[in-house]
Amino acid sequence: MEKLIAGDIYYLMYLGRAFEYKAKEHYMTGDISGFLHLDIGQEALSVAAMKAFEKGDVFTTYREHIMAIARGMEPKYVMAELFGKASGVSGGKGGSMHLFDPSHFFYGGDAIVGGQIPNAVGCAYARKYQGNLEGVMVVFGDGATNGGAFFESLNIAATHKLPILFLCENNEYAIGTNIKRAAPFKEQYKKAEPYMLTKAIDGMKADEVYSAVKEAQSLIEKGHGPIFIEAYTCRFEGHSMSDANLYRSSQEMKHCKARDPLPYFKEKMLNSFNFSQEEVEALEKKANECVDEAVDFAANAKEPPLEALYEHVFYEELNNVVS
């Protein structure tokens, strides 16, 4: 990894965390509502995977604010979406769980567990059809690996040798249910082994995530076909703002927080990538400023007009359709 990219990753991880804490704060005040799933603790995976998989297309879940930002969406437009404003990335109609930006080849923001996986497979088929092997990356949680959509997708992707990276974020929990109570083993890559190349990594280490995803992307681009990466992570907060996180002991949370990806990567910044303490602090300051600006922007942005309710139900107006 080059110094420049390391700096970028640290900046985005730091920004991501600050963004999530602000979102939490504004959920408490009522500026943000609905389901809010925070990604605090999992910044390494969200940022490094997006940075490594620069090309291609991305499909992901409802826990996607940081991924969306790392993919290139401006924090202020993401925050505006959380605030339900017209200038939000989805016009205020999607909210936290439904961030979309085709200009960054980022297709949600899907809140049906596992639902995005077959969509990503279809997109990979389209890309291969078009002669484009840059690849599609689909991110999903450990909870999604127990559903039919997941198994069907592995089979189809492998049968057609599609250019797709399955990236499983295994934080061991689907809401309050531990993976050990929902599957016969903790390692979900075992389910993909018969179909494709698999790899298990520590998802809390940005450098490890970056190199694994980078390598997978380049293999896919060379026509290798589908690859499965499982990244072990840990979320620091409850599943969403409506979850009090009572099912994890303080002991377990202590373990979890000891794996904090930020201090880990900060140490790398200083000792492996030759950043000075001042340089790191400057990045942190810039990130905080960016998040403050995002909140200001979102708070002052306009609500969508009432007419927006009826816009985009169809792309074509009915009277334009010629049969």
Partner: protein, 325 residues
């Protein structure tokens, strides 16, 4: 007692009596249920009877069908209506048809419960209603429960019945307060007159019924009339008898539902009234329903997408004035 506590009590009472009753669903056990309906039950009845499943809705309902065939009485919980779509194959191709296809040899004593509807800014994939689709499936009983007393009695009946039942709850009702009348002998699968009146019959069900009830005083005052409010309770089969009796008395019908208007459940009630009670009606029926759009996240737009106390009041008054009230 709260609505969710009434449901919990119904489950608890019956599980105590019949060890064939089992619960299955996501986070129903150790977590206590996403809306706390199954709270405390795994502690009481163990993990063998309160089963935490993986995120696999097709299997939740599919397994429940198999459990019922095998002699158990499963109560399956789907976290939210939108996820029931993953189980529609099992609900429609299997759960609803085995009894008929086997010429009555197979019975399926099972319940599939889920909450539905617009809650608060949960956006398009977490806010929908599916009674219109499910009530159109022959062989499936569909119940929608709007208050504490009914929730208790209806869930008990659903579990005790030897038919497959889809039991619809609403996310905004779980903390609704009320009393259970343990001596209530009305059939919970029949429509209930929640308020008597003589000039307008307003038919509704589930959460939006509360908005109807809240709008009645203003409507009665403005139109100088009295409204009869009916809670349908059962959406399949439909209790036409109770409806006909009321409409013949009032000669006017208003149908209020939360769901999208096109193809909505209320169209069945209104078309039935047009066919069967045309000459008893003094005014064209009025249907009040949600807009034909996916539910948006923004609160203002969200509220504009469904009927509210204000919009119900306004629409009924306008309609009343136009029709000689």
């Amino acid at each position: 007692m709260l609505y969710r506590e009434a449901l919990n009590r119904a489950l608890d009472e019956l599980m105590q009596k019949d060890e064939n009753i089992v619960i299955l669903g996501e986070d129903v056990g150790l977590y206590g249920g996403s809306y706390r309906v199954t709270e405390g039950l795994v502690e009481k009845y163990g993990e063998k009877r309160v089963i935490d499943t993986p995120i696999a809705e097709l299997s939740i309902v599919g397994n429940a069908v198999g459990m019922a065939i095998g002699g158990l009485r499963p109560v399956a919980e789907i976290m939210t209506a939108n996820f029931s779509l993953l189980a529609f194959d099992q609900i429609i191709n299997h759960m609803s048809k085995f009894h008929y296809m086997s010429n009555g040899k197979i019975k399926l004593p099972m319940v599939v419960r889920f909450p539905q509807g617009v809650s608060r800014q949960l956006a398009a994939q977490h806010s929908e209603s599916y009674e219109q689709m499910l009530s159109a499936v022959p062989g499936l009983r569909v119940v929608a429960t709007s208050d504490v007393n009914h929730a208790y009695h209806a869930l008990k009946k659903a579990i005790l019945l030897d038919d497959p039942v889809v039991f619809i709850e609403h996310e905004l009702l779980y903390n609704k307060k009320g009393e259970v009348d343990f001596n209530d002998t009305q059939d919970p699968f029949k429509a209930r007159v929640v308020k008597e009146g003589k000039d307008i019959t307003i038919v509704s069900y589930l959460k939006i019924l509360d908005d109807v009830t809240a709008s009645v005083a203003a409507i009665e005052k403005e139109l100088n009339c009295s409204c009869e409010v009916i809670d349908l309770c059962s959406l399949n089969p439909i209790d036409y008898e109770t409806l006909a009796k009321s409409i013949k008395k009032t000669s006017r019908l208003v149908m209020v539902e939360e769901d999208h208007k096109t193809g909505g459940f209320g169209s069945q009630i209104v078309s039935w009234a047009a066919e069967e009670l045309f000459y008893s009606l003094d005014a064209p029926p009025l249907r009040i329903a949600g807009e034909d759009v996916p539910i948006p996240y923004n609160r203002k737009l969200e509220l504009a997408s469904i009927p509210t106390v204000d919009s119900i009041t306004k629409k009924v008054i306008e309609w009343g004035h136009k029709n000689g009230l």
